[in-house]
Amino acid sequence: MNSPPSTKSKKANSGWHRRHDLPWLVIFVIPAFIIVVAVQFYPLAYSAFLSVQDWVLTESQVPKGFVGLDNFAKELSDHIFWRAVRNSIWITGGALILEMFLGVCLAYLTMGSSWRMRAIRTLLILPMVIAPVAAGTLWRILLNSRAGLVNHVLDMIGIKGPEWLATADGAIVSVIMLDTWQWTPFVLLVVGAAIASIPADLLEVAAIDGASRWKTFLHIELPLLMPLLLLTLVFRMLESLLSLDSIYSLTFGGPGYSTYTLTYYIYTLGLRSFNFGAAAASSWIFMLFASFSIGLVFWFQRKDW
């Protein structure tokens, strides 16, 4: 079993597949394919069309015409666009590191089926249940520099809490904290499920072998968990980049442009200014990055296929 699963699968695969399975398997895929592609295809294609059109809905009822890559050029030379990109990188980068680390640790620490662990696990995933808008406002109260619980607690232990939401750095840290608080449970849940799927006897064998816990983790569990960890990483990264409701209600993108993220930027372009051409172009720039990240994960996983 210490050999990668791929070699085994391939060997088994050769004599295993039955031709008459194929129609069934195709039928399995069809519903999902229809729902996802059929319903989402038009909006997406439309958005691709818009990215090369000059169209501000509030100035004109119909697109004003083809402008080539002008929208893209304009976005890429817009200083606010880059400011938003920088903010997004800071916020998502910070949140991602914390979430992955804490999530994996907690997944291990809450392993097991005792009622106590079950209760703790249920408790720990609760932050995800709160509507992002409400979570943002809740943390607004908590981080309030005068009347907030966080600074009150800090005060009690003799630390003067910072102006969380009134400074650029404070606001970024606040958004990172909110994202981490709300979404570490996602990592915990997915990784926890993956750990639960690792055959227990595998670990027992390793234990009998006298492998230390750390070595077992490094050589047996980590390789098995890797695909899922990568998936979680990419999902959390893109989700965090796309998050809007919580930032909207926690900092409103501010102060100034301090927590104005790329998604916030696209949102303002698209649904506040109705500048469809520019919003579509920025979305495709975002997708270029997203595609790259997804591609990277595929590349890491490719040996498994």
């Binding site: 399975d21 394919f33 729902i35 995933i125 499920a193 639960a196």
Partner: protein
């Protein structure tokens, strides 16, 4: 493990407990504060220092919430949307993942199909809600829960498909071989052999899908008006152009948490199935 623990083990156990305690506190304290806020009088918000224990417990925010006939409708709509979205997503996503995992597609094609799914999943929705709105208008689905469900499925199915694809790919094919020898068809193998083993991940996927659907705001707010309006829109309604109604918002947030806790507790049962298939692997 023996009954007599070494000092080192004791220390580790203590540390383990301590970390979990801190983690739980970090989750519980804000949530408790939310609950406290929901029973606070308006004047006790934003006091300096913060009012941790309200001088007087009031249920006025809850009372107002439940006296409003719209709350029930929002609740029903949210429940309908979440149940259908989760149900359809889990069935369609899991089946699709199994199909893709066992089709023996070339790596390139498989990657291509998955990529299309994910591309659709992560395309910034703020840019597609208006075209989506127009599609729903043409389908005469505006202000129906189905418009919301269809919109959300575009987000949830790709996630579940990818998650389960990774899980199924990791399952050794040997475990299905015994079933093949027994003459089981592909459906039977999926249902009786593969699914039970993958149950923890299915449960995790279901929990995540339900949470996402329950709280989803953007799609819902762009196609729902009145009849199909949901809780996540209502909770945003406490933020007006001139301030926030903290109390009612806290009360509604608390109300919104309850059904999801029930669901999470229910799904927990499957999260720890932990079937061993070492025997099959030999």
């Amino acid at each position: 493990m023996g009954r007599n623990k070494s000092p080192k083990q004791r220390l580790l156990a203590l540390l383990h407990g301590l970390i979990l305690l801190v983690a739980c506190l970090v989750v519980i304290i804000p949530l408790t504060y939310l609950v406290i806020n929901s029973v606070k009088l308006p004047r006790e918000f934003l006091t300096v220092p913060p009012t941790i224990l309200p001088s007087e417990v009031t249920f006025q925010h809850y009372q107002e919430l439940f006296e409003d006939s719209k709350t029930l409708r929002h609740f029903r709509n949210s429940l309908t949307v979440t149940l259908w979205t989760t149900g359809i997503t889990i069935v369609a996503g899991t089946l699709a993942a199994y199909g893709l995992a066992r089709m023996r597609l070339s790596a390139m094609i498989l990657a291509g199909v998955t990529f299309v799914f994910l591309f659709i999943r992560f395309y910034p929705r703020v840019t597609t809600v208006i075209p989506f709105f127009l599609v729903m208008r043409e389908m005469d689905l505006l202000d129906t829960v189905w418009a919301i469900i269809i919109g959300q499925l575009g987000i949830t199915i790709p996630f579940v498909t990818w998650l389960m694809l990774v899980v199924f790919q990791d399952l050794p094919l040997e475990i299905e071989e015994a079933a093949i020898v027994d003459g089981a068809n592909v459906w039977q193998r999926f249902w009786r052999v593969v699914l039970p083993i993958a149950m923890p991940s299915v449960a995790a996927a279901a929990i995540l899908t339900a949470f996402l659907s329950w709280n989803e705001f953007l799609i819902a707010s762009s196609v729902a008006r009145r009849k199909a309006s949901v809780l996540s829109i209502a909770v945003a309604g406490f933020v007006s152009d001139k301030g926030i109604q903290w109390g009612p918002m806290a009360a509604m947030s608390v109300v919104m948490i309850v059904p999801m806790i029930v669901f999470a507790l229910f799904a927990q049962k499957y999260l720890i199935h932990g079937i061993t298939f070492g025997a099959v692997k030999g």
